[in-house]
């Protein structure tokens, strides 16, 4: 790569690697810049694929309800609703559970249990989404249909959300599958956050007579609250973008329904189920438009989470 320096006397120096400092620096720098270019190219390409649809529908795509391949009318309103609903329900359930797990693994669990239980929680994240979707469609969906949804309907049927006949596919199983997916993500970040709280703060609080829970509530959680927000945003981003498991259990409903028992669809789920069988260029472009919306959501969520994390790090850096 780089011209050999004049051979020195020592044999040690003659066995220098094939490329020198500059070579490695350039190679590594190119790889790093390559990753920046990759993200730029990805964004450009997806927008480019969506362009026919963006040009035709503009921003009204976002609140138009039609999705009709025959008439060539496409809009994302119902999909945005399905995505928002399933993800927000998932986050609402997963966040408290996952933060509690983080607390358990960092503060409460007997020392001997921490590593193995932590490992098991992380294994939950390792289950491929298609396997979780298979379980969702064959085990969870029918279980909900037979045992949970009739009861929810009896008790809460007066709310449109819980009206309608039970079904083995729909928003509810999708939200549950997403919950299972994001619990381990939020839990492992929460654990790291709680472990980062300085021990003297915790011990100070305990020494002042707090119970362990009071220490957690008054000292640990306020210390890491911003980080917990970031963790929840990352979980939300994961839920928004999940395509496979959701498309397996949500039923791919084409009609809007307020009930969580009924089939619905999400942005990512619609792409997964229709992109392959798309019948027109406009439909393909509209599906790519959905991808653009997803990409924008995930970029916003991830960058927000990272800015929060960076602010925390700067503050911590200043404190020590």
């Amino acid at each position: 790569m780089i011209a050999e320096t004049p051979a020195p006397a020592s044999t040690f120096r003659r066995r220098r690697p094939r490329f020198g400092d500059a070579g490695l620096r350039v190679l590594a720098g190119v790889a790093a810049i390559g990753s920046l270019l990759l993200v730029a190219l990805l964004t450009y390409k997806v927008v480019d694929e969506a362009w026919p649809s963006i040009a035709q529908f503009g921003l009204s795509f976002l609140w138009s309800e039609d999705w009709n391949a025959v008439t060539g009318e496409f809009g994302a309103r119902d999909l945005i609703w399905g995505t928002a609903f399933s993800s927000l329900v998932a986050v609402a359930i997963a966040a408290p559970v996952a933060i509690a797990i983080g607390l358990f693994l960092s503060e409460l669990a007997p020392r001997r249990l921490r590593a193995p239980v932590g490992a098991l929680v992380e294994l939950l994240a390792a289950i491929p989404s298609v396997v979780l979707g298979l379980w969702g469609i064959i085990v969870l969906g029918p279980f909900l249909q037979q045992h949970i949804e009739p009861r929810l309907g009896d008790w809460l049927g007066f709310i449109p959300l819980f009206s309608g006949s039970p079904s083995n596919v729909g928003l509810l199983p999708a939200a549950i599958v997403l919950t299972i997916m994001i619990i381990p993500i939020v839990a492992s970040i929460s654990r790291e956050l709680f472990l980062s709280v300085p021990g003297d703060l915790k011990q100070g609080s305990l020494a002042l007579g707090s119970t362990r829970w009071e220490m957690v509530r008054n000292v640990a959680i306020p210390q890491v609250s911003a980080g917990l927000v970031a963790a929840v945003i990352l979980g939300l981003a994961r839920a928004l973008g999940e395509a496979i498991a959701v498309s397996q259990v949500i039923g791919g409903g084409l009609n809007f329904s307020a009930s969580v028992f009924q089939p619905a669809d999400t942005l990512a789920g619609r792409i997964a189920s229709q992109y392959q069988g798309s019948t027109s260029n406009l439909q393909t472009a509209s599906l790519a438009y959905l991808a653009v919306i997803l990409l924008a959501m995930s970029l916003i969520a991830n960058i927000t989470a990272q800015l929060i994390v960076r602010r925390i790090r700067q503050r911590m850096g200043g404190a020590h």
């Binding site: 790093a32 469609i137 011990q203």
Partner: protein
């Protein structure tokens, strides 16, 4: 931390103190239950997959291609070969690139640039995999058709940030004294990296690759548009579309046929065992590497 016994004044059972203690116990119980729930979910899913998948496993399942429509006794050999090839190609692309990025960030980059690269890697890690699929479809499939090679590019994009971030963490763990010793002996920066830092961190780099492989082998979305129109025969031609295990689960899971669903469960069992073994192995290896590096300090 060491609050095994409550502070003195809490041992009295006056109302207020008792209430505080009860609230505390209640919250601790809830946190424990949350953890039990997570472990139970893992157990339920794994148990379902074993219960439904194990009966359909046989020698034929691993060695034969799927049976023609309506017949039984088929297997997923084509998908196993496809997943192996695509993951291997993706690793061959993502591993060197990821390690180089990590080297750049730890050894060469000015802090602000390193921060920027880190941000972009995190953003890339957060891009939904289905969007990566659409990207690679537009980039490589439109015009030239589906291929396992295109799918492996999609998988490599998915793996890149995982490998780069994990490798960077391990490289940063390598004690500065080792680096300084290398430079003090007259080694160049590059020589120090290649001869001292990489060998020290090699366990961590391998771990990052294992974890990324476990993730890529189970991903469906990136292969859905890039390598999904597949023939039911075992092939190693990466210029054409090849089956993959996640794809076969996805397709069979939506089938109304009980036989297909059984095939899906069996494939899910194979995939799950593979992924969990890699994850556990990676975790153990990573603990060992960290301990080794920490002992050097």
């Amino acid at each position: 931390m060491s609050a095994a016994t409550p502070p003195l004044h809490l041992r009295s059972s006056t109302g207020r103190a008792r209430r505080r203690r009860l609230v505390g116990r209640g919250m601790e119980l809830l946190a424990t239950l949350a953890s039990v729930l997570a472990v139970a979910l893992l157990a339920i899913v794994v148990a379902s997959v074993i219960k439904e998948g194990a009966p359909a496993l046989s020698w034929d399942f691993f060695t034969k291609a799927p049976a023609p429509f309506g017949q039984t006794n088929g297997g997923i050999a084509n998908s196993i070969v496809g997943t192996a090839l695509m993951t291997a190609m993706a690793t061959a692309m993502a591993l060197p690139a990821g390690v180089l990025i990590a080297i750049y960030n730890v050894e060469f980059a000015p802090p602000r640039v390193a921060e920027m690269v880190r941000l972009v890697l995190n953003v890339l890690a957060g891009v939904p995999t289905i969007v990566i699929g659409i990207f690679v479809y537009g980039l490589l499939v439109v015009g030239s058709g589906q291929s396992a090679a295109a799918a492996s590019v999609a998988l490599a994009i998915l793996m890149l940030p995982l490998i780069a971030r994990a490798t960077e963490e391990v490289l940063a763990l390598v004690p500065a004294s080792l680096r300084e010793a290398g430079l003090a002996l007259g080694g160049t920066r590059a020589r120090t990296v290649v001869r001292i830092i990489l060998p020290t961190a090699v366990g961590g780099i391998v771990t990052s690759a294992i974890v990324a492989v476990a993730r890529a082998a189970g991903e469906t979305a990136p292969v859905l548009f890039t390598s999904s129109i597949v023939a039911n025969l075992v092939s190693t031609d990466v210029h054409s579309a090849l089956g993959s295990i996640p794809l076969s689960i996805y397709v069979n899971s939506e089938s109304p046929s009980v036989h297909d669903q059984q095939q899906a469960w069996a494939a899910a069992l194979v995939l799950l065992v593979f992924v969990l073994v890699l994850s556990i192995g990676g975790r153990l290896l990573s603990l060992r590497t960290r301990r080794q590096i920490e002992r050097m300090r």
